[in-house]
Amino acid sequence: MTEILSLIVAKYNYWLYVILMMIGLYAMIAKNNLIKKLVGMNIFQTAIILFYVSIGYKKDATIPIIEGAHGGHGASGAAIHAADYINPLPHVLMLTAIVVSVATFGVAMALAVRVYQRYQTLEEDELRMRLSEK
């Protein structure tokens, strides 16, 4: 029983990330509305970011800010062990990814507004119809 539980704890996260990614991919492929596709894209993105951040997680470690350094002068005698702190590298990569994702989300929304101004619709099949009329 404990083996099954430990297996679930060890791998359940990855399964759920894959499911989340599948939801996003399905929305990108099969949904008809442009904004729904954008939401699918964002869900896909967060699934990947989750995967990256979870790689850096370590059991029984604390957050990647050095403890006891708030006096400003730092270098608090004791040596720093790498096993005590969570890996900061994936956090850095994903932090910038989130901000860039919101900026690109804004650009995509601007494109959607522009498309709606011109064709008065956001559905993909209606857009195809309007385009073929001309």
């Binding site: 008809n32 989750l50 919101v102 929304m109 507004v113 956001l122």
Partner: protein
């Protein structure tokens, strides 16, 4: 250490994602997407990624929802699927 909270919140995130892409109203999608990012921030805080959680808190709660609602305001709420 805190894997219980992690698993519970991760399950909620899946529900939220399914609802956000299957609801037939774009404003409701925007609001559900806000809830999605709340839980995502919680998940990152559990995993110890404090800076990422902060970014998601400021971006997901404030700006991303605002852009979404603004775009829905300027286009239409209608969606077929």
């Amino acid at each position: 250490m805190h894997w219980q909270i992690d698993l519970i919140v991760l399950t909620f995130v899946i529900f939220c994602a399914i609802a956000a892409i299957s609801v037939k109203d774009l404003l409701a999608t925007a609001i559900l997407f806000g809830a999605y990012s709340f839980m995502m921030c919680l998940l990152w805080a559990v995993m110890g990624a404090v800076d990422v959680a902060f970014t998601e808190a400021s971006v997901g709660a404030g700006v991303s929802t605002v852009f979404f609602v603004a775009a829905v305001f300027r286009t239409s709420r209608r969606t077929k699927d």
